[in-house]
């Protein structure tokens, strides 16, 4: 048995011969891990999930799911799926929904009854089991959808926007369910826009942009070499430019100033999305951008100095200089990019500093 729950190679989908939704996806998801799929709107996330669930046929696909080729129908007996914007027939009651979809998953009747009762308890809507789903709130329908996805006791659970429309308490409950499923050694594949939610539960993530996997790995792998130190001082007397001078003066060796990224001609107002993690809108910043003699990137913003290094020794001379000048240090902390930072990096064109166009690529005449 393969150690991979999902092993996708060369997955491509072109709609009506024009829209390239997926362009050669390579992705591996190990058994028992929680895998997050991120991407802007139109990146191809739902297309990929639907290909796995046989809802969409791929233009090309050489992957396997639970060791069987993608599209192998019997394998779906071991897969649970919560579609985005799912809708259950309003004439069914909660328990009947679970019974119906359990039966469609070939779950025996007795087992269906047992699991339906158990899952309704787990997702917290046991009291609503005998009420028609037409009267359910969006959050309750989402909980029922998750229960539906688990009816066949799946080895792989694919959740498409599981926290969509769910209140904070519900989100926490869903996180708990995901954690419980992981503890049960199930593989969970989550597609979500809520990066903070994913960051809390995912072991590994893949970021999909314009039908291609931009980044894939654990958060540590993806943020390797992107750690930085942030040092904040107590404001000196005077205005913010005094703080800028103090912090610049504390930088060791020769410092080369860099030009901040420019807005493209003809644009105004909203500045470009920058590749720098946690970068606030440029226009609001009062600061400095440059590099030290050894190439380490530094940035000053108001009272904060950011040094892009994971080596604590690189910060020590700065602290010494500041202390020597009697500057009070309010805080010093090591930071790593968040999932949101990674996401923003992935959707930014490194050359222009602009966000990549959302949506799939369209095939042009003569293009192969």
């Amino acid at each position: 048995m393969s150690d991979l729950a999902l092993d996708l190679q060369h997955v491509a989908k072109t709609y009506r011969g024009k829209v390239r939704a997926l362009q050669g996806i390579e992705m591996a998801v190990a058994r028992g891990e929680v895998f997050g799929l991120l991407g802007p709107n139109g990146a191809g996330k739902s297309t990929l999930v639907k290909i796995l669930m046989t809802v969409i046929s791929p233009s090309q696909c050489q992957g396997t799911m639970l060791g069987k080729p993608v599209g192998h129908k019997p394998t779906l007996s071991d897969v649970g799926y919560l579609p985005e914007h799912h809708r259950f027939p309003p004439y069914l009651k909660g328990g009947q929904v679970l019974d119906f979809f359990g039966a469609m998953g070939n779950v025996p009747r007795r087992e269906r009854r047992r699991r339906a009762a158990e899952l309704l308890e787990v997702v917290g809507i046991a009291d609503w089991a005998k009420k028609k789903v037409g009267g359910y709130s969006k959050g309750m329908r989402q909980r029922l959808g998750i229960a539906q996805a688990l009816m066949n006791d799946p080895k792989l659970v694919v959740l498409d926007e599981p926290t969509d429309g769910v209140d904070p308490v519900g989100r926490r409950d869903i996180r708990d369910i995901v954690a419980r499923l992981r503890d049960e050694q199930r593989t969970i594949f989550i597609n979500s826009h809520l990066l903070s939610e994913l960051e809390m539960v995912c072991d590994r993530v893949a970021i999909l942009v314009q039908g291609r996997v931009r980044q894939q790995g654990t958060l540590d792998e993806l943020t390797e070499g992107q750690h930085r130190y942030e040092l904040e001082i107590v404001p000196p007397q005077g205005d913010a430019s005094d703080a800028l001078d103090v912090l610049r003066g504390a930088l060791p060796g020769e410092v080369t100033e860099q030009e901040p990224p420019k807005l493209p001609a003809g644009t105004s107002g909203t500045p470009p999305v920058r590749a720098e993690p946690n970068a606030p809108p440029f226009a609001k910043r009062i600061g400095f951008l440059g590099t030290l003699a050894d190439g380490t990137r530094v940035e000053i913003e108001r009272m904060t100095l950011r040094i892009s290094t994971s080596d604590p020794k690189a910060v020590e001379p700065v602290i010494d200089r500041l202390r020597a000048r009697g500057v009070t240090i309010r805080s010093l902390q090591q930071r790593r990019p968040s999932l949101e930072d990674l996401f923003m990096q992935a959707v930014t064109d490194p050359e222009t500093g602009m966000a990549l166009k959302p949506g799939a690529e369209r095939k042009t005449k003569g293009a192969r």
Binding site: Y15, I56, K73, Y81, H86, P89
Partner: protein, 389 residues
């Protein structure tokens, strides 16, 4: 596999049950059976509850209770209620089965289960037909009991209405399924199916008119030929009488006519008119025959809704009974008519038209209709299997 099929069956029942129309149609079915049971026939005419309506040509002296109940069942029980009103209600009830299935948010969940698309679509289709099976079965059972109790007749052939009406419905339902898949809209699928039904109805009507005209032309030709023979016989008699009297046959100028044909015309001027009528009638037969053949081939491509429901009449009521009814109602025997041309309601024409429709083979009526259904379902399945949702 059985688990999934049972689940789909139960879901189809719940869906139809939720639509209420299932029970409304069932209630109406029972109401129609009650009306059927209230009808009767006695020596004076037709009875309804305790009222009697005097009908000279429709009473127990002329028609047996068995034939009476069979005729009522075929004419308005099956012919009107089951194949019109109940089918419309059934189409309204089931038209949404496929558009609802393929609507966003539903189809993704269903397709993510280990069930093939072909089986899913065909199972849904079959359970759509179950709606009609149940309705027609209940109706037929009710009518069967009425016949048994009131008509004192055991007619199990009545249950042939179930496969016949279900086949009839399936010819329309397959189109509704295909249109539902293409348009994804219940209303559009329903309206377009009704439009298709109307087209079939018009083709059927055209066929009936063409066959009626052709048979009328054939009867007219037979009449013209018979009339010609009569005129010749009459002329020969005149000639014989002249010869017996020793008189010659002369033209207007007093010249003797020697040719036998000229003598006949001279003795019976109406012969010339009768002769002219024969090729005219032959031409009319040829023209209507060509047109009726064209309509027939067009019909061959389409489902035979009219003939399909006509099968019930064919199997329940014999040709002898039909002939007897024509004779009793009109008192006319074929061959008695010496008029210039048959009227539209000429019983000979009506009988010939009935015979033409009843003689159409089962293979043509059902075979080509099922072939149509097979093709339409094939296209629908192909679309469903290939579509990305």
């Amino acid at each position: 596999m059985l688990t999934q099929t049972l689940a789909l069956c139960l879901d189809a029942y719940r869906e139809l049950n939720a639509r209420k129309l299932f029970w409304i149609t069932m209630g109406l079915n029972i109401m129609v059976v009650v009306v059927y049971a209230s009808l009767g026939i006695n020596e004076r005419g037709v009875t309804f509850w305790h009222w009697t309506f005097d009908v000279p040509l429709f009473n127990a002296n002329l028609i047996s209770p068995e034939l009476f109940y069979k005729l009522q069942f075929v004419s308005w029980g099956s012919g009107l209620w089951l194949t019109w009103v109940a089918v419309i209600l059934a189409l309204v009830s089931t038209a949404g089965l496929i558009p609802d299935l393929i609507s966003g948010g539903v189809i993704e969940t269903v397709l993510s289960k280990p069930i093939g698309r072909v089986r899913l679509l065909l199972t849904k289709y079959v359970f759509g037909l179950m709606f009609v099976v149940l309705q027609v079965f209940v109706f037929s059972l009710g009518c069967f009991l009425v016949m048994l109790i009131r008509g004192d007749t055991f007619v199990p052939e009545l249950f042939l209405a179930v496969p016949i009406v279900v086949s009839f419905f399936s010819f329309l339902f397959c189109v509704c399924v295909l249109l539902g898949l293409i348009t994804r809209s219940t209303v559009a699928a329903l309206l377009l199916t009704f439009l298709f039904w109307f087209v079939i109805f018009m083709v059927n009507l055209g066929d009936q008119i063409m066959v009626q005209q052709r048979e009328q032309a054939i009867v007219a030709l037979e009449d013209a030929e018979r009339n010609l023979e009569n005129q010749i016989t009459l002329a020969d008699r005149f000639i014989e009488r002249r010869e017996e009297e020793g008189r010659t046959i002369e033209d207007a100028d007093g010249n003797a006519i020697t040719g036998p044909d000229e003598q006949r015309v001279a003795m019976n001027p109406a012969l010339e008119r009768s002769r002219q009528r024969v090729p005219e009638a032959e031409q009319a037969v040829e023209t209507w025959n060509t047109w009726s053949q064209r309509v027939f081939w067009l019909k061959t491509l389409l489902p035979k809704t009219g003939e399909t429901t006509g099968l019930l009449e064919r199997w329940l009521i014999s040709q002898e009974d039909i002939n007897k009814l024509f004779e009793e109602r009109t008192g006319v025997n074929p061959g008695d008519d010496d008029n210039d041309g048959p009227a539209m309601n000429d019983p000979r024409v009506s009988r010939r038209v009935t015979e033409v429709f009843r003689s159409r083979s089962l293979a043509w009526v059902l075979g080509t209709s099922f072939a149509f259904e097979f093709v339409i379902l094939g296209i629908a399945t192909l679309i469903f299997v290939r579509r990305d949702f």
